[in-house]
C-alpha cells in the first residue's frame, strides 16, 4: 500500500471525487476511519442552529433608527457638501487669477519655484546647524519622534474607543 497522503489533501480530493483519493480511502482503514469521523462530525455540526435573538432586539434597533435621518437625506447632504467644496475651490481659483483662469498654470509653476527655493534654503540651514550642533539636533529630533509616536498612539487609542459598540 502507498504511504498515506496528508489528511487534508486526501479528504479535499475525495470531496472532489478524485479517483486516487477514493481508492486510497477504500484500501486504507486508518484513513477511512478518520474520514468517517469527519463525516460524522459534519453531520453533528449540521444539526446546530442559530439561537433565537433577544425578543426586544428589533424594538431596540428601531428605537435607535428612529433617531437617525433617512439614508437618502444623508446621501443628499453628502452630495451637497461635495458640490459646495468644489464650487468654493472653483471660486477661489477664479478670484486668485482675477478672472483669468488661463493664468492657473503660470501660478502653479511659480508656486513650485517658490517652494523649491524654500526647500533648498531650509536644507542649507539644516546643514549649517548640523555642522555646528549635531548632538543637540539629534536629541531634539529624538524628542520629536518620541512625542509624535505618543501622539499617534493616543490617536489610535481614541479611535478604538470610538469604534466600541455603544450600548
Amino acid at each position: 500500500m502507498n504511504a498515506c497522503p496528508e489528511l487534508e489533501t486526501l479528504l479535499l480530493a475525495a470531496a472532489e471525487h478524485d479517483a486516487d483519493a477514493l481508492a486510497h480511502l477504500r484500501s486504507c482503514p486508518d484513513c477511512a476511519f478518520l474520514a468517517e469521523e469527519h463525516r460524522q462530525l459534519e453531520k453533528d455540526l449540521t444539526r446546530l442552529v442559530d439561537p433565537l435573538p433577544p425578543a426586544d432586539l428589533v424594538q431596540s434597533v428601531m428605537a435607535r433608527v428612529a433617531l437617525e435621518p433617512a439614508p437618502a437625506r444623508v446621501e443628499l447632504r453628502t452630495g451637497l457638501s461635495i458640490l459646495a467644496v468644489t464650487l468654493m475651490g472653483a471660486t477661489l481659483a477664479f478670484v486668485a487669477t482675477h478672472g483669468n483662469l488661463g493664468l492657473l498654470g503660470t501660478r502653479a509653476a511659480s508656486a513650485v519655484v517658490v517652494w523649491r527655493n524654500l526647500f533648498f534654503g531650509l536644507s542649507e540651514a539644516l546643514a549649517a546647524v548640523w555642522s555646528t550642533a549635531a548632538v543637540p539636533m539629534v536629541v531634539t529630533m529624538a524628542g520629536l519622534v518620541v512625542v509624535s509616536t505618543l501622539g499617534v498612539r493616543r490617536l489610535a487609542a481614541h479611535r478604538v474607543v470610538e469604534a466600541q459598540v455603544r450600548p
Binding site: 433608527v65 439614508p71 437618502a72 466600541q164
Partner: protein, 206 residues
C-alpha cells in the same frame, strides 16, 4: 470618521468579491429601496428577516449574549446609516453579516483573554437544531460537548464552521462575508473541523 468607517465596513477584498460575482436572485431589494427613501417599516422588515443569522454569528464569535445583542444592534444601526453605500444588486444579508463580523472582530481585538464563564453562558444560549424528546439526554449531552469543543477554537474556525454548517451558507457566500478567496474556504473548513475533532477526542479522553 473615515478611518472609523473603514474598520467595520466590508473590506475592499470582500466588496471586490461581491462586485465580481453577481448573484442570481437578490432578496430584500424592494425593502432596501424603500428603507433608503426613509421607510422605517421596510427597514424593520429587513431587521426581522436577518436578525437571527446576525445575532447567531455575533454569539458564536463573541460568546456572550449581552455583547452579541449589543453588536447586533450596532450592526443594524450602521447598516441603516450607510444604506447609501450598499450595492442593491448584491445580497443584503451578506452585507449586514460582513458588518457584524467586522464589529465582532473589533471587539475581540480588544479582549485579551477568554473567560470561562463566557463560554458557559454561550452553551446555555445555543440550541440544538434537532433536539427533541426522542433524542433525550444523550443527544443533549453530545450537543453540549460539541459546543464546548467548538468554543475552544479560534475565531476564524468558529466563524467558518458557523457560517457553513449552522447557517448553511455556500462557500462563495462565506468568502464574501469573510473577504477571502472562495477557493480557500473548503481548506479552512477542513482545518477547523480537524481541530474540532481533535478537541473532542481530548475531551472524551478526560
Amino acid at each position: 470618521m473615515t478611518t472609523l468607517l473603514s474598520s467595520w465596513l466590508p473590506s475592499p477584498a470582500a466588496l471586490g468579491s461581491i462586485l465580481a460575482e453577481p448573484t442570481e436572485t437578490v432578496p430584500y431589494r424592494a425593502e432596501v429601496h424603500a428603507a433608503r427613501r426613509g421607510d422605517r417599516s421596510a427597514f424593520e422588515a429587513l431587521v426581522r428577516s436577518v436578525q437571527r443569522s446576525v445575532y447567531g454569528l455575533c454569539l458564536r464569535l463573541l460568546r456572550t449574549e449581552a455583547e452579541a445583542a449589543e453588536v447586533a444592534q450596532e450592526t443594524f444601526l450602521r447598516a441603516y446609516q450607510h444604506l447609501g453605500r450598499y450595492d442593491e444588486s448584491k445580497p443584503f444579508d451578506l452585507w449586514v453579516l460582513a458588518i457584524a463580523r467586522n464589529l465582532c472582530l473589533d471587539l475581540l481585538r480588544r479582549r485579551s483573554r477568554v473567560h470561562t464563564q463566557d463560554v458557559d453562558e454561550m452553551h446555555e444560549a445555543l440550541p440544538s437544531g434537532e433536539r427533541s424528546q426522542e433524542e433525550g439526554v444523550i443527544a443533549a449531552e453530545e450537543h453540549r460537548s460539541l459546543e464546548v469543543a467548538m468554543a475552544t477554537l479560534g475565531t476564524d474556525d468558529r466563524e467558518v464552521l458557523a457560517l457553513y454548517y449552522v447557517q448553511k451558507r455556500t462557500t462563495k457566500e462565506i468568502a464574501q462575508v469573510m473577504g477571502v478567496a472562495p477557493g480557500t474556504i473548503m481548506a479552512r473548513l477542513f482545518r477547523a473541523r480537524e481541530k474540532l475533532r481533535r478537541q473532542m477526542k481530548t475531551e472524551d479522553a478526560q
